[in-house]
């Protein structure tokens, strides 16, 4: 007998069972290990896929400019794709490595956000870092006191540089571009020095990029025809509600009538929201609720009722309550301004409030914040008509239904609201549709106002108020810089608001001297 061999049949059996037990234990250990690995992978994937984290900025200005309001998951582009679009489509980006070609602003002093423009925030969705708009994209602009100066970025002023139409049209355009296929994109991503792991590559190939493309194609189909129908908005302008109708609502409101189809208007400034509470907000004054107006604007930026980050929006809203505009740097003759102030108080203050002698704007006026009927104000009806009763019905029934954020205050108005004029010097071009380049022009009878002018400059016109906006020929060569805005196109009309136009030239000069101080 072999030394150590079992002596009895029972010992043989027990030894056999011990051997089996070893195998069983080994198998169990193996199963447990495999299960742990699977668990690790699944948990890792689950954590990653459910990670909706977004950077938090304690400073409200930083939060406004770079914090997410929840637009990314539903509307955004993966960051890695965002970063290589300029490489993939250099012609659209004018050969620049950034998004300045579309008028996006970069806060180069901010190392954390250096590679994303102001108004573009990041948030993780399904494990992918996605970037898209926040409030600042439409509400941060620049000015220069002279053409040689560095632009000064002003949070809260209209985004006078941003060519949203151009940017959206670009995205719709590339939806079916071969360069947006998986391979070119992944190649560009890796060429840009961004790493993609094996699993990430599989995920991007099969999920991320197809979804991006799907989303862009969807918008191409829905939004493309609308944009094609509309005149280009030009920098600093957006059609607030019509894209909503065709993209966000399910089912969409289609087709749009001729009257409602062109609703482009200027980005508004969003200074000092506190005193505006209860006024008729939006250009057409269709909602008196700051919160609803804010949420509606956030929808325009791309949030959905599912992805919206209410807390982030409310942080912005709170900050805006008291955000003052920078005071006007334009110095005018005091005596003239006093004279102008008297004229203003007679002709304008009831509707637009006034600038007190201490230089602060006063939200006081009998008609301030009220809607002026279109037959009296007489300005271009495009924006007013784009907000239709049918759309309002859908807003109230569909959006945030069943939540505390359910829209309740939207109304259909018959005109445009009398807005406060705080920060007026940063809000050119003027009228709701930005059809009048300067304050001086606004005081001219409509037929004397510029027919076409260049938008998109941020050099303050210290004489006429607003930004330098040289005349241009829409039918001729496009200007080397900026966008030639043609007031003869639908929605672009510069008619109406004839207040002050009957004043004498001297009176207008005086009034201008006062207005330039707003």
């Amino acid at each position: 007998m072999t030394p150590g061999a079992p002596i009895t049949a029972v010992e043989v059996e027990l030894a056999r069972r011990r051997r089996w037990r070893r195998w069983i234990v080994a198998a169990v250990v193996l199963v447990v290990l495999v299960a742990l690995v699977v668990l690790w992978v699944v948990a890792g994937a689950a954590l990653r896929l459910t990670d909706e984290s977004t950077p938090r900025f304690d400073d409200p200005v930083e939060h406004f400019m770079h914090g997410s309001i929840g637009a990314e998951p539903a509307s955004g582009l993966p960051y890695k794709l965002w970063a290589v679009l300029p490489d993939l489509f250099p012609e659209a980006f004018e050969g620049r490595p950034d998004y300045t070609a579309f008028g996006f602003l970069y806060d180069t002093d901010d190392p954390d956000q250096g590679d994303l423009p102001i108004g573009i925030s990041r948030r993780r969705a399904f494990g992918v870092e996605v970037v898209w708009f926040n409030c600042a994209v439409c509400h941060t602009g620049t000015y220069r006191l002279d053409a040689e100066a560095e632009p000064v970025i002003v949070p809260g002023m209209p985004s006078n540089n941003l060519d949203l139409y151009g940017f959206v049209a670009f995205l719709l355009d590339i939806a079916d571009d071969p360069r947006l296929a998986t391979e070119p994109v992944l190649t560009a991503i890796e060429a840009s020095g961004q790493s993609l792991g094996l699993l990430e590559r599989v995920f991007w190939t099969n999920v991320v990029l197809p979804q991006v493309r799907e989303g862009l194609l969807f918008r191409q189909v829905r939004l493309g025809p609308l944009l094609a129908e509309q005149p280009a908005w030009g920098p600093g302008r957006v059609d607030t509600f019509n894209p909503y109708k065709v993209v966000s609502l399910v089912p969409p409101i289609r087709p749009l009538t001729e009257d409602e189809a062109v609703g482009a208007a200027d980005f508004p400034s969003i200074f000092l929201q506190g005193p505006r509470a209860g006024m008729s907000l939006h250009w057409d004054g269709n909602n008196p609720s700051l919160a609803e107006r804010n949420l509606s604007a956030a929808l325009g930026a791309g949030v959905t009722p599912e992805t919206v980050d209410h807390a982030a929006i409310e942080r912005v809203a709170d900050w805006l309550l008291t955000l003052p505009p920078p005071p006007s740097p334009i110095e005018t003759d005091d005596a003239l301004a006093v004279e102008g102030r008297a004229l203003y108080m007679d002709h304008c203050a009831a509707c637009h409030g006034y600038l007190a002698e201490d230089g602060t704007y006063r939200f006081e006026g009998e008609h301030l914040g009220q809607v002026e009927p279109i037959d009296r104000i007489g300005t271009d009806p495009g924006r007013l008509d784009s907000y239709t009763p049918a759309f309002r019905e859908r807003q109230l029934s569909d959006l945030f239904a069943g939540t505390p954020y359910h829209f309740r205050h939207f109304v259909k108005t018959d005109g445009y609201a009398n807005h406060p004029l705080d920060g007026l010097w940063l809000r050119a071009p003027y009228l709701h549709n930005g059809s009048v380049p300067t304050l001086a022009d606004l005081l001219l009878p409509p037929h004397e106002r510029p027919v076409a002018f260049v938008r998109g400059f941020d050099v303050v016109d210290q004489d006429r108020g607003g930004f330098v906006a040289p005349p241009c020929d829409p039918d001729g060569t496009a200007p080397a810089e900026g966008f030639c805005f043609d007031t003869r196109l639908p929605g672009n009309g510069s008619q109406g608001h004839v207040y002050g136009t009957t004043l004498s030239e001297a009176e207008r000069s005086a009034l201008l001297a006062y207005l330039l101080r707003f």
Binding site: T8, A9, V10, E11, E13, L14
Partner: protein
């Protein structure tokens, strides 16, 4: 001659007992490792004969070495043992008692395999290990079974040659015959498994072979378990019913059995056999002898050793017994079997009271009783009855300490409360070792073969 039915002779077809009391099969490890019996066994059996029983059924006597339940029990597997058995028979006969050899084969129910059997699984009807202790076994082939049938026949022949009075086939209590008979154990797919007739084939073949070998006139009785109650381990099958056993009893009679000895249970020990207590504190100090016998040995030892675990085993064990009396525990089943056959029926199961035995005999429920423990406690139980006592002054308590000491200690009554002292108890237990003759000096060199 007394009118007491207990003391009326019992005439089997070819054997007559002087009374209706048999010493049932019980033994200790008195014998030699090679299976040869010893003076101690003669002493053991003789004291019951002297105590007045009409007959003695030997302890379990294997017909082959591979069928021992406990190494150290006498076997009858060799012709050269015939003189030894003759001596035993003569010693018993000297007291007017008859001696019936219980021919046996353990099958898988092998408590202490010893050096002869420890190296191999035991032949059985099945290859499924025994359920309680995990004794290993293997299903015998048909040829092996036929050889074993002949081994039984040869053993019966040896018994007759030794002048003994008959043989009993131990087809009860879980040993090899039960392993074939029981539907809870027999999982064979051949002629020896499946239907009751097939499961009984081995037993009936043995009866036939014995009859063929020893003729019609040598007493042959069969011990059967009336009901298997095989489900001590709750998920085991229940095994044979009383109806099954009635049928087997009829077949045995037809095959040539002269009497039936009715017990119960398809394992030994069993909650119903021997009925009584099961002091686990005794097992805690004796079961260690069996730890290496089965694959569940150590588990069981732990259950016995640690008081906190004992309730588990107690529950398993006693849930089958319920509130049945220890005495005459299988009488009803024996009566049913007796009604089905025309040969005498012996009942076993805790008999100790004269009135109980007398009543059963007078009603014709049974023809005789076989008693083990009560006779171990009072070898002269029969004489107490004869003296008119219902029970001896110090009756068996059914404590089963005799049973639980069996794997490790000499057989005897270990119920100290029955003795005046521990010394008296030991004296009584050791009394069987008193030799009755001179020890022989082994021959020198090759002087004798």
């Amino acid at each position: 001659m007394s009118d007491d039915m207990i003391f009326s002779p019992l005439a089997f077809r070819s054997l007559t007992l002087k009374n209706r009391v048999l010493r049932s099969n019980i033994s200790g490890r008195f014998d030699n490792e090679d299976g040869s019996l010893t003076q101690t066994r003669i002493n053991w059996e003789t004291k019951f004969a002297a105590g007045g029983v009409g007959g003695i059924i030997s302890s379990y006597v294997p017909v082959l070495m591979e069928g021992r339940i406990i190494a150290g029990y006498a076997t009858i597997h060799r012709d050269d043992f015939i003189p030894l058995w003759r001596s035993l028979g003569e010693a018993v006969h000297a007291h007017g008692a008859k001696y019936i050899v219980q021919l046996s084969h353990s099958g898988r129910q092998m408590d202490l395999p010893g050096v002869h059997n420890q190296h191999q699984p035991t032949p059985s009807s099945t290859s499924q290990p025994e359920t309680l202790h995990g004794f290993l076994c293997r299903a015998m082939g048909a040829g092996e079974i036929r050889q074993l049938v002949q081994a039984f026949a040869r053993a019966a022949w040896r018994a007759r040659e030794a002048g003994l009075d008959g043989v009993e086939l131990h087809a009860a209590n879980g040993y090899l015959f039960t392993q074939f008979l029981s539907s809870g154990i027999n999982d064979r797919k051949d002629l020896y498994g499946g239907s009751l007739r097939n499961r009984a084939r081995f037993l009936l073949d043995v009866i036939a072979a014995i009859r063929e070998t020893v003729g019609r006139d040598f007493h042959l009785q069969v011990k059967l378990s009336a009901v298997d109650h095989n489900n001590i381990i709750p998920w085991e099958g229940k095994g044979n019913t009383l109806a099954d056993t009635v049928q087997v009893a009829r077949w045995c009679e037809a095959a040539g059995a002269d009497a039936l000895h009715v017990s119960t249970g398809s394992l030994f020990p069993h909650p119903l056999n021997p009925p009584g207590d099961l002091p686990l504190e005794v097992l805690a100090v004796t079961y260690d002898a069996m730890i290496s016998s089965g694959i569940h040995g150590f588990r069981n030892f732990l259950l016995f050793r640690y008081p906190a675990l004992r309730p588990i085993f107690r529950w398993l064990w006693f849930r089958l017994k319920g509130d049945r009396d220890n005495e005459a525990i299988s009488l009803n089943e024996a009566r049913v079997i007796k009604q089905a056959v025309s040969i005498p029926v012996i009942s076993t199961g805790g008999y100790q009271s004269a009135s109980v035995v007398r009543g059963a005999l007078e009603r014709g429920d049974i023809d005789a009783v076989a008693i083990a423990r009560s006779l171990v406690a009072n070898n002269d139980l029969v004489e107490h009855w004869r003296a008119g006592l219902e029970q001896p002054p110090r009756p068996c308590t059914y404590c089963n300490k005799c049973l639980l000491n069996a794997p490790k200690n000499p057989m005897g009554c270990y119920e100290e409360s029955r003795y005046d002292s521990r010394e008296q108890m030991l004296d009584e237990v050791m009394s069987i070792y008193r030799t009755r003759g001179a020890l022989a000096i082994p021959p020198v060199d090759g002087a004798a073969a």
